[in-house]
Chain length 304, copies 2
């Protein structure tokens, strides 16, 4: 393999209980040039998050194959779960990895979205960075009303789908196809059991209440560990890095006389998020990816 | 390619002026499965540092091919340079990268060293982590007396070569073959022109004067940039990380009321050195390489 021109795809399907269906839908991505990275089902949400990656072309084929299976196997008319949803394949985001840009992922979202609407008769909304209309950048707005409200909502000109006719698929609803930066689940644990403090700090940190761009944050109690946690989703580490969020939390905690016990990353992180933080703390100047031995080696092996 | 089981080799040859000879010797490593990473000649030292990497088997073949060319093309009888040396191929260290261990590199050093002695009639000393005798761990001790003193030195039982007869090769001398951790050239610039301070701090930092393990350090003036620098060789970042050296320098500078302007890495670094520092500063707990998206992807593509 080479390390260049990889893209990740993180479909969310509205099935989190029937392991057979989940397996069949996930297996659809097993085309040449694609690696299945993860399958994470939540029975309460009745939803599964799948992650796979590979070359742009292979991921496009795999994403469509998965969409086809999801539409065939999942009927939303009988679906009840905690998580909001409007389609069998509910969300289909593409994420740039090494050697690909957000623009590549936007193009990919539009190409795959068009094909899903045309061949599977599922109306498609473009969201996130792939949105054509600004009000569709926000997935929550696109999905508001959910599957049950879709027949009415889709008739309004402002909610006409980006691809396909303004009629929901009878069993598969509609799908949001988009592009976004890699998401990092990053938690910081505080040396206190004061849940209010965690909540106050989360409020300072999250963007929606005036905090850091591209950070979502909540405060939680972790009674088993006798501490509290600021739990974050970092939605674009290039805008707010791990060190940016960590630093602000550390500062706010210190002001209350509380120390930071440690942090944790849940699931996967792009390597660059950590390299960026190392560069920040070490005040590393003029550093480039071309100085990373493994990167040079991969490039040399690709070219050779 | 896969990211697994790669090893680096960093031969130092005693030719830094004749570009044709350097090119021919460096080209010898161009065997299948090997990537040439760098060729860095120093005319004053009359010495060239070459770096290449690949699978264990391919690197073994390439290292021998390079040794053969160096022995054939470089005559130490007419060699005068600033850098100490005892052989045409002076030093041949193997360095573990992803998926390989120091033990792998020790085995590789012994295998290639034996072959060099047997086929090229060049006596070989094992040094560094590959040393069989503790006093040969230190390369400087092995090389003391240099090419000119070798005929006498090699007769002493305590300096009998590890492989080959106790007679120097008439033109190529002897070669030190070894294994070592990746070396990182790491400099920290201080916001002052006080060279004495840089030298004092270098002394605090370097191991030889009681400082941090696996750190060599000197103080330099950088008049062009109107600052001074603590210039380091980090010889084992797993024992002393970049953050360890940086932190101590920052502390000592602060004590003198001087700030740190920034740091720089000269040449290549293994990615893990930076990841380790990120983990340190972010107080990241329970993090594993298996959480790095690119790593999981490479593994999945290898297995698939």
């Amino acid at each position: 393999m080479t390390l260049c021109q990889r893209v990740e795809c993180v479909p969310n399907i509205s099935e989190g209980r029937d392991a057979g269906v989940v397996r069949d839908v996930a297996q659809a991505v097993r085309v040449d040039g694609v690696a299945l990275l993860g399958v994470d089902s939540d029975p309460d949400h009745h939803r599964t998050v799948i992650s796979f990656a590979g070359s742009v072309e292979a991921v496009a084929r795999a994403a469509f194959a998965l969409a086809k299976q999801a539409v065939k196997r999942i009927d939303l008319n009988t679906h009840r779960g905690a998580h909001p949803r409007m389609g069998s394949l509910d969300v289909l985001p593409f994420v740039p990895l090494q050697g690909t840009t957000m623009d590549d992922c936007v193009a990919l979202a539009r190409q795959v979205g068009e094909r899903i609407a045309r061949e599977l008769r599922v109306p498609v909304y473009l969201y996130g960075e792939a949105a054509v209309r600004p009000e569709r950048r926000n997935l929550a707005a696109v999905r508001r009303g959910q599957f049950e409200g879709l027949t009415e909502k889709i008739k309004h000109p402002q909610w006409a789908p980006d691809f396909g006719d303004p009629v929901p698929h009878p069993t598969a609803g509609a799908t949001a196809v988009g592009a976004r930066a890699p998401l990092i689940a990053f938690n910081v644990n505080l040396d206190t059991e004061d849940l209010d403090l965690a909540r106050q700090i989360a409020k300072k940190v999250r963007y929606s209440s005036g905090g850091l761009p591209c950070v979502k944050a909540l405060g939680f109690a972790l009674p088993q560990r006798a501490c509290v946690q600021v739990s974050m989703n970092m939605t674009d580490y290039e805008r707010t890095g791990l060190h940016g969020a960590f630093g602000l939390i550390e500062q706010e905690a210190a002001r209350a006389g509380v120390g930071v016990l440690g942090s944790e990353i849940v699931g996967l992180t792009p390597q660059r998020a950590l390299l960026d933080s190392a560069q920040f703390y070490l005040k590393l100047n003029g550093f480039s990816q071309g100085q990373i031995l493994e990167h040079v080696l991969a490039e040399a092996e690709r070219d050779g």
